[in-house]
Amino acid sequence: MEQRRWLAGAAAIAFAGVTAVVGASQGAPLTFLVLDTATGLIFIGAGLVAWHRRPEVATGRLLVAAGALWFVGSYGATAIPPLASLGNALASYYDVLLAYLVLSFPGGSLSAAYRAAIGAILAGFLVRTAARLFVLDLPTLFPEFCAECPPNPFVIIPSRPLLEVMELAGNASITVGALAVIALAVGRWNGAQPGARRVLRPLLAAGMVAMLAAGMDAAETAGSIVGVRIPEYPPPLGEIVGWAPFVARTLIPIGFLIGTLRLHMAGGPLATLAAGLGTAPPGIELETAVRTALGDTSARVLTYEPQLGGWIDSSGTAAELPSEDSRRAITILGSEDSPRAAIVHDPILREDPSLVSAVSGVLLLAVDNERLTTEVRRQLAEVRASRSRIVDAADSARKRIERDLHDGAQQRLVAVALALQDARAEAARAGASPEILERLDATAEELRAAVHELRELARGIHPAILTDEGLAPALATLVRRAPLDVRLEIELKDRESAAIESTAYYIVAEALANVARHAAASHASVSVQKQDGALRVEVSDDGRGGASTAGQGGTGLRGLADRVAAVNGTVDVVSPPAGGTRVTAVLPCE
């Protein structure tokens, strides 16, 4: 197909060139040559563009043919007999093609009315051609002013009355047909669907003007035969009227080009479409954006929901995929068996397949993006909830252990101490030896140590005072027990949730433990503040630095990272070598 296009284009342009040369050799004025050639080339150029864009439709080929026919007519002015006769006879057939184009664009079939109108024009042309080819011989029939005109080698019946009848009939038919086309074109103008208007209207306008020119031309000829002479227009009006046909016909391909360019220019809104789609869910906003991008306000966007096994429209209600017809085209995105979205639009948009495909591409991105985002959000929420549950479970377990130790083991040991005390008293009363008494005392001491250890253990697992009284007293104890000087700054008005408080506590505990173990520092400070709805915990020291969440020093802090993440907080360690260490945690409170 491409080859054919190149060939046809080359041939047409060559023909144009030849015609120009012939015209120049025959003495045609330069302005005429330039305009004539330019007009024809515009036809050919527009035709080639259309052919390239939509090879499956006749539009392009029609325009190229019209361009070629344009140049055929130019030969009528030459002095070479066969060419002149042919040129005269076949002049203006491009009008038929143009009429067909204007009425059928973008490539649908024509209704009876359209066919009748074009048929009338065609019939008129055929009769006229027959007359000019087989009946008209200028030197024979019009010796009074055309004795030196080139003779017609094809003439069969040189008869003036016959000529007049045929010309009259032919031109009348053309005039009627042209008027009918204009009327039908007006109808099309009014009935154009929103998506089609942008392309159609320039073309229709140009077509109507051209038809008007053709009709007037034919009418004039017919009238002159019947004896109705249209008065000469005084210059400069006469000049304008003389040039009008040229301009009019040139308008058609220009109109067509403008129309399709406008389609193409819609690419501008594409950028807006793409930008806006980052956040727009498949819905009304998206549909509006697509409509703007396509320039088709009747366009609809449907998305396919695999769970429902059906389509939904932009408002989220279930919808059926419509069938294609003359008013609607469907572009489906995705594959046959797993469609993702569909755009229902005016068929005229097929004139610019790259536009539709670009919009489709962006739309598909949006649809997929939305789906993925929803899925990711859902999974993230699940992960967060799960993490939170795990941390809460761990905390509850610790509190339970502490309570069990307190109520169970510790209490029991105290009871044992009491019993031991009783036993010692008894033994002393009963006159036991000093060694026995000493052994009992030693045992009591061991017991005391055990109670002490158990107490420390319980507090290490979970300090009861943190639950009962909150962060301030719990941190005060931590700070007090640290083996170095620690400054504590804490000003909290209210208590926070258990999860936040225990996370803050463990961060400080772990950080201080690291300071004691690794930092070789002389001073440290702990600060806890509430800022912008979040608890800000900072532990800094003036020690060795070089701490990180990697390496042995860091395992404790790393282990806290999950707990911190479970409350949606952040923890971060800044520790330049020999520059001290600062651990900062930000825990958002509700």
């Binding site: 510790q410 209490q411 009871a415 101490a417 009491l418 009962d468 104890t477 027990r481 170095l484």
Partner: protein, 216 residues
């Protein structure tokens, strides 16, 4: 001295009752939970209440009951709290509610008969008794404490005994020195620390503990 003992553990309760009784105090009633305690206090009007910090109905019911009793009977009822938590904060809470008649002992102290009896007597007669281990937490830490660095070790020892709630006589006995010596040491301590000297034992306990507990 009339005493009510409150603890949900029968073993502890019986042990405490036995020790107090053998030390000559009159245990007029026993309670198993906070509500029972409040009711019994209303009925018997004792001089001293010995209460476990953690009792039913739950959590810190014992501590809360102790505070309520302090509020309702200021000056006429001594409250000695038994706790397994070595948290000076709890002691401070009790002390800050007013003067006199407050004690905070660690539970395992109950096995030390003389300590318990002495503490009970002190608190029942309007004095204070803070467990030495708690005081230890505040005073005698390994950490180099700037605030206390200006005190000699002897002075620090005396400070600890003050914080326990002991009277000057009691301190003198514990250190085996003359009363006058103790008094002059105490005066030195207070002036070094910039604290108001006070004749009231309870106030000075509070003052010392507050000084020690103060978070810079």
């Amino acid at each position: 001295m009339r005493v009510i003992v409150a603890d949900d553990s029968a073993v502890i309760r019986e042990g405490v009752v036995r020790i107090l009784t053998s030390a000559g105090l009159d245990v007029v009633a026993e309670a198993r939970d906070a509500d029972e305690l409040m009711a019994l206090v209303g009925v018997h009007r004792p001089d001293l209440v010995v209460v476990d910090i953690r009792m039913p109905p739950g959590g810190n019911a014992g501590l809360i009951a102790a505070e309520r009793l302090r509020d309702e009977h200021p000056g006429s009822l001594g409250v000695l709290v038994l706790s397994q938590y070595l948290e000076p904060d709890y002691a401070m809470r009790l002390l800050s509610k007013g003067t006199g008649g407050v004690g905070y002992l660690l539970k395992d102290r109950v096995a030390e008969v003389t300590e318990l009896a002495e503490a009970a007597r002190r608190v029942g007669t309007g004095g204070s008794a803070i467990d030495p281990a708690v005081v230890d937490e505040l005073v005698r830490t390994r950490r180099h404490e700037d605030r206390l660095s200006q005190l000699t070790s002897r002075e620090r020892e005396v400070l600890g005994l003050i914080a326990e709630g002991r009277s000057n006589r009691s301190i003198a006995d514990a250190l085996d020195v003359a009363l006058k010596t103790v008094e002059s040491v105490i005066a030195t301590i207070f002036s070094k620390l910039g604290l108001e000297p006070s004749q009231d034992d309870n106030r000075r306990v509070l003052a010392v503990l507050a000084f020690l507990e103060r978070r810079a």
